[in-house]
């Protein structure tokens, strides 16, 4: 796991995920500028029932969670030095990010129906 997401590869993955996150944010901002923000449950649910929106959002969260993991890992390794504390803090964030991923996948899947 750590060998796969370290060094030059982590550097590259961090930039690739950043590019997609930027693309998604750009689309979100543009669509918000043109359509405004939804004011009713119905219009909001219609947005999220689109397979295109949920697919792009699922990809967005995949990129986001990988980006968040590489970033937070670098920060933790910089500031938390004792081995035990490092393990605990890293594990907490790993669990938080994985749970977030499963959770949002379920939310997006339910929204299609």
């Amino acid at each position: 796991m750590s060998r796969k997401l370290s060094g030059l590869r982590a550097w590259y993955v961090q930039r690739l995920s950043a590019a997609y996150i930027t693309f998604y944010v750009l689309i979100a901002v543009i669509s918000m500028l043109f359509n405004g923000t939804p004011t009713t449950y119905k219009s909001w649910a219609t947005v999220w029932s689109s397979p295109l929106v949920s697919t792009m959002t699922l990809l967005f969260f995949t990129a986001l969670l990988i980006h968040a993991w590489i970033g937070i890992r670098d920060v933790i390794l910089d500031y938390v030095h004792p081995f035990g504390a490092r393990l605990v803090v890293l594990s907490l964030f790993a669990v938080m990010l994985i749970t977030s991923g499963l959770w949002v996948a379920r939310v997006l899947f339910n929204a299609i129906n």
């Binding site: 930039r15 950043a18 996150i21 930027t22 944010v25 901002v29 918000m32 500028l33 405004g36 923000t37 009713t40 449950y41 119905k42 909001w44 649910a45 999220w48 986001l64 969670l65 968040a68 970033g71 937070i72 920060v75 964030f93 938080m96 990010l97 749970t99 977030s100 959770w103 949002v104 939310v107 339910n110 929204a111």
Partner: protein, 126 residues
């Protein structure tokens, strides 16, 4: 080995005057950590808003609370600061704007653009 232990240390944070690109850099880090911590809360809001009409109203109510509004403003600013600072780092990686004066100028641009875009987006949301 004993030599290394005796190296001088100047770690009084109050005495370190960070240059502008340094301020940008630490804010890139802080905004990143804040956004990571915000992820579960944002997913919770999305979940709540998509449950049913009552859930949508509840989520809108949460977003209308003053403290949440302040937090959201920080997160939106964090997002655009992080994004534009990130683009600046990409350019630096490509050896663009590495000179001291250019690096200072591009830092000012990142601060300015991210605040303007944040205000526009918050203006649309609220």
């Amino acid at each position: 080995m004993t030599q290394i232990a005796e190296r001088p240390r100047f770690l009084n944070l109050m005495k370190i005057r960070l240059p502008l690109p340094g301020v940008l850099s630490i804010l890139h880090r802080i905004s990143g950590v804040l956004m990571v911590l915000a992820i579960p809360f944002l997913i919770y809001l999305l979940d709540l808003s998509l449950r049913d009409a009552a859930g949508f109203a509840a989520a809108a109510g949460v977003l209308d609370m003053l403290l949440i509004k302040l937090g959201l403003a920080v997160i939106v600013w964090g997002l655009f600061h992080h994004l534009f600072a990130g683009i600046r780092y990409l350019l630096l990686d490509m050896d663009i704007g590495v000179e001291k004066q250019q690096a200072r100028a591009s830092s000012w641009i990142v601060f300015g653009v991210s605040i303007v875009v944040t205000l526009i987006v918050l203006g649309v949301i609220w």
